[in-house]
């Protein structure tokens, strides 16, 4: 399951949603807004997406992950809009029969998400300036 949301991500509910009787391992990843990037102080982030394509890519990542590991359940959720330091911007929950699978599947899903999904963040620095983050550009 994949979701884009403007509300707080309910990662506790996500953890419950992926529990399965035939899965002995659950891995939950949370990405949160950090207060420091290098030497600069972040006070907030704004996330925007190309929503239709972002949902399509998230669904493809779910499908790819299910092809590679025996996933019981997987949820990828990304928040959009204005987030303060400490807020959860992204969450991935995965259940698998065994722990190595669950770790690898969760790691793969978040790595692919960061590589492929058309979502962008804008830094709001403590000096009042803002800056879109475009790695390599």
């Amino acid at each position: 399951m994949i979701r884009l949301t403007r509300d707080a991500i309910d990662y506790h509910a996500m953890t419950e949603e992926v529990r399965r009787r035939d899965c002995g391992a659950i891995v939950l990843f949370l990405g949160t807004v950090r207060d420091l990037t290098g030497e600069r102080i972040t006070v907030a982030l704004d996330y925007e997406a190309y929503p239709a394509m972002a949902e399509k890519k998230l669904a493809e990542i779910e499908a790819e992950t299910r092809t590679r590991w025996p996933v019981g359940a997987i949820i990828l959720e990304h928040r959009l809009g204005h987030l303060e330091v400490g807020d959860v911007s992204v969450a991935v929950a995965v259940s698998c029969p065994h722990r190595a699978q669950a770790f690898e599947a969760c790691r793969y899903a978040i790595d692919r998400l960061k590589e492929l999904v058309p979502i962008w963040k804008k830094e709001n620095w403590s000096d009042g300036t803002t800056e879109w983050v475009h790695p390599g550009a």
């Binding site: 399509k56 058309p118 475009h134 790695p135």
Partner: protein, 77 residues
């Protein structure tokens, strides 16, 4: 044809979608935009494009009515 814009590209160009004369391929579109918006050329060089919500490299043909988007390097997560 319309091109959707996001993030820094949208801010630099000042619109979330622009009209450009029809071009045959993504590569042609990229070069056209670089001429038209020289202050965005550096970002355009590093950006991806999408046609109908799928990544499209420079040799992809743009068919009539396709949804085209300019995608600066992503930073979700």
């Amino acid at each position: 044809m319309k091109v959707l814009l996001f993030a820094r590209a949208r801010d630099l160009i000042g619109a979330d979608r622009i009209d450009v004369d029809a071009v045959a391929t993504i590569g042609e579109l990229r070069r056209r935009l670089m001429r038209q918006y020289p202050h965005v050329a550096g970002l355009l060089e590093k950006s991806a494009f999408a046609v109908n919500e799928e990544f499209a490299d420079d040799n992809v043909t743009i068919l009539d009515g396709a949804e085209v988007a300019l995608l600066p390097p992503v930073s979700g997560g």
